[in-house]
Subunit: 270 residues, 2 copies
Amino acid sequence: MISIVVENYLKTILKTEDQSRKASTSNIARDLSVADATVTDMFQKLQKAGLLEYKPYYGATLTKQGRMIALKILRRHRLIELFLQKVLGYGWAEVHEEAEKLEHAVSELFVERLDQLLNFPVKDPHGEVIPDAQGFRATLEDICLAEAKPGEYTLRRVTSGDPEFLSYLEREGLVPSNRFSLVEKLPFQGPLKIMLKSSEAPRFIGLEAARKVYVTPTPPLAEGRRKAADHPPARGRRKAVGRRQLAEIERRDTLLSTRHEFARASQHPA
Amino acid sequence: MISIVVENYLKTILKTEDQSRKASTSNIARDLSVADATVTDMFQKLQKAGLLEYKPYYGATLTKQGRMIALKILRRHRLIELFLQKVLGYGWAEVHEEAEKLEHAVSELFVERLDQLLNFPVKDPHGEVIPDAQGFRATLEDICLAEAKPGEYTLRRVTSGDPEFLSYLEREGLVPSNRFSLVEKLPFQGPLKIMLKSSEAPRFIGLEAARKVYVTPTPPLAEGRRKAADHPPARGRRKAVGRRQLAEIERRDTLLSTRHEFARASQHPA
DNA sequence: TTTTTATATTAGTCTTATCTAAAAATTGAT
DNA sequence: ATCAATTTTTAGATAAGACTAATATAAAAA
């Protein structure tokens, strides 16, 4: 049986690989808030168990088996987060912590029932993709706000579970699906000046915060469609689109900004 | 922090007290499937922690503090069971196992949100009372089927989480709220002959099974109301009651068969 | 190439929860 | 009151995870 502790190691290694950081003992130790020696020990055990390959100074790589387990935890985590928000009315900032515990306690059946209840969702409340039951993940094509040029954007994803930070973003109106324009990036690692679609006052976001925020240009310049810039929407002229319609557009945009791809697990012979 | 293991000890002791069995090391060891020596050890630790009083050969008694914790777990367990059944569509027999794990993983907030979502329910899918957030419990006035005299009964509660057993009962139509008549008890510890309201064929239920089933006479002879036997319902004469109405009657009956009372915790100075 | 620095490992403890086997204590029966 | 049966406790181990302190190794810099 795989313990909660092992599940957390695997999950953390997967996340580290996703960020193309090295899954070294020291990195993982920092992420899990344990001593380096503890990770060395665990890496040796996990290698013996066939869940990862480990080369000192190079880092750990999940095996097919280890990756599958990690993806399952990730799926659980994200479905649970969405459930907490949609069904139990949790706030954006509250879902992560609770999911951290629940992800180790729920059965396969539970997860699949959640999936059904939530109507097979694609993303969690932070905009992260939910792996499917086979471990496949859609690939996001969003870009990091810290690297974006001035222009119009839709917020897609926030890579943090920290309640403080998330509450802050929420107060600033920076939640997934919200639109804003990036007016300019102030020099010398300065903050970003942004303008929400819904408000007049400009806001300033620190570079560190911007590193955790991912966006797509608005409207998305999807292949095979003419650039929307050539046909600016006749705003205020005809009747504004209804809520339902807006939701549908939003959904379509979201889907268009992703591309389905096999999870690495299936290409990675153990 | 209280570990999952400790939570399980406290819960098991509470259940044992409820059944007025002695919470001896050996009894608890059997219930938890651990060695006697393990329980001795744990009892000593829990006593030191102020969660129970323990006298060898006499048994353990929960302190106010220990009881409060146990009642919280019980509340979680039962709310989770109901949630699994009502919201995630789990079967009667499946809810217990999943709840056993989840009860140790959910936060206070989660539990209170469930309570709200389920509209502050009184009983779980097995007919067991759900303690309120303060640990108060309604007291059931049902009787054990194994001790019942021939007559008309409504099934109220089943004291088992065993999926096999519950599936069996379900197949026999013995689920909470169902009505049946106990025709006779066969001699020499023989089975009980019962007749479901909804079917012609008699069924035979072993005495062991009957010990886990609790019932109230149908219709309930609540104080301050005339016995319903004096006024047999004019069945088939006027229009049958609708579903909604039936549900309401059922609900009222259920409530009438209970009486609110302080949980022992509040009378028990540590 | 040698030194410095960063990273990783080993060795020895600790805690929690468990076990088995043997010893001790209590209850109940004769 | 004494013995047998039951119940409980002690003692000594084990396994999982984690720690600290000391050591070793690889990478980077001089």
